[in-house]
């Protein structure tokens, strides 16, 4: 019963934030994502991800579609090396498409480890990335993300079952000797399809950023589809 109530509240919140009246001024939008994972052998795997960002800016007398404007599309590709059952390291590349300007290139390095002391799986990720944009000086970022994943039915996530994933990421960025700080709080409800290689996740990605002593907030409604190809 608690779970059902929780789901109803989550759904109502989604509906309210996406279509409801503006209560506070906050950038918000939709962000669909597809993530594909392919295992090459015992040690190496590939991960590809396409994620787009659509800002929601309601205007009077226009349809719902016109209220969304494309902010960008990220194409990510990673080569992941498993160190042992708990740890892995990955190298990645990202191309960001910007509809209003020139795209940027990014290289990414990361180390991650997963623990499972009980029913909850905890993930830790240390990441650094460097972004190159033809019109801007390079931007360097250092990030740490802590995440927790737990099943809502039983003790492991099985096909046709719901689960939750929540994470918080701290990001420090430096560009042209100017620092900025970002926090990303993400909470998603996931569902494993009858084919256990497919998962769907919907949730919120709440980002706060401090730059030039100015605080900006963005709330993305995320819809992710995660696929394991083999």
């Amino acid at each position: 019963m608690t779970k059902r109530l929780f789901l109803i509240i989550l759904l109502l919140t989604i509906v309210h934030i996406i279509t409801g009246n503006r209560i506070y001024s906050l950038n918000r939008g939709l962000s669909p994502e597809i993530s594909l994972n392919y295992k090459l052998n015992e040690k190496y795997s590939l991960n590809g991800k396409v994620e787009s960002f659509h800002f929601y800016q309601p205007a009077d007398e226009t349809g719902l579609w016109e209220d969304f404007s494309l902010d960008g599309v990220d194409f990510q590709f990673f080569v992941n090396r498993r160190i042992n059952p708990f740890q892995s390291a990955a190298l990645g590349y990202q191309y960001s498409y910007d509809p209003s300007g020139v795209g940027s290139n990014r290289i990414i390095q990361q180390y991650s480890f997963v623990t499972r002391p009980g029913v909850v799986r905890f993930g830790h990720r240390l990441r650094s990335d460097q972004t190159f944009h033809p019109e801007d000086p390079p931007r360097l970022r250092f990030r740490y993300r802590f995440s927790a994943e737990f099943p809502l039915q039983g003790e492991v996530i099985d096909p046709r079952e719901f689960y939750m994933v929540a994470s918080d990421e701290l990001i420090y960025a430096i560009q042209d000797s100017q620092s900025s700080y970002e926090n990303r709080l993400v909470a998603s409800l996931g569902y494993m399809l009858p084919n256990k290689n497919h998962r769907l996740q919907v949730g919120f990605d709440y980002r706060t950023r401090l730059r030039d002593s100015e605080l900006s907030e963005t709330l993305w409604f995320k819809m992710a589809w995660l696929v394991r190809l083999n």
């Binding site: 991960n47 997963v114 990720r125 497919h198 589809w225």
Partner: protein, 191 residues
């Protein structure tokens, strides 16, 4: 227009995903009232002082079973029943100090000779016997005809493998069964 194309693309791949079905193997919480009555009664008779029990149904290779999980005398217990409510085994978490020294030596010998490196993560004592013998053991501390096995979860490295394993050892420390533990993908925590 851009949004519509993206949505259509998502939808079409989604349909492909739904169409491929595989054998279902799962475990899920059930209500106390959904557990077989005999199982509930047996549990009440054997363990009189525990507080909260979580009931689960498990389906593995088309075989159904019911499991009760609870804490008793500071240890985590898991009792498995068949669908008629007859107890199959009782497992609870112990430390390596709880294993008799002779047995422990044999188990260590096996791990040392078969793995370059190993680290034990969890040990469970598995007790098998008739429902009456098991009940008398926990209820009255009576040693009937009970078989003890040790289920050990460990991280083991060989020349080819670096994995998590589960080894089942008999009461003398001889290996009965070794299997690799499937951990499930971690890519949603990594990326």
């Amino acid at each position: 227009m851009k949004h519509i194309i993206i949505l259509l693309l998502l939808f079409s791949i989604f349909i492909t995903a739904l169409s491929a079905q595989i054998k279902s193997e799962r475990e899920y919480r059930i209500k106390r009232s959904e557990a077989p009555e005999d199982a509930r009664e047996w549990l009440n008779d054997a363990f009189e002082t525990f507080k909260r029990v979580k009931w689960y149904k498990e389906i593995e290779n088309d075989l159904e079973s019911v499991e009760a999980k609870f804490k008793y005398k500071g240890s985590k217990f898991s009792v498995k029943f068949d669908t008629n409510g007859k107890v199959v085994d009782v497992e609870y978490i112990i430390t390596s100090d709880d294993i008799p020294e002779e047995t422990r030596k044999v188990i260590s010998g096996y791990l040392e000779s078969n793995f370059n490196k190993h680290r034990i993560l969890k040990i469970q004592l598995q007790m098998l016997g008739s429902p009456d013998d098991l009940e008398d053991y926990f209820d009255d501390d009576e040693e009937g005809n009970i078989t003890r096995n040790y289920e050990i979860e460990f991280h083991g490295i060989t020349d080819e493998k670096n994995e998590l394993w589960e080894g089942l050892f008999d009461e003398n420390g001889n290996l009965i069964l070794l299997r690799q533990i499937e951990q499930g993908p971690t890519f949603n925590l990594d990326f």
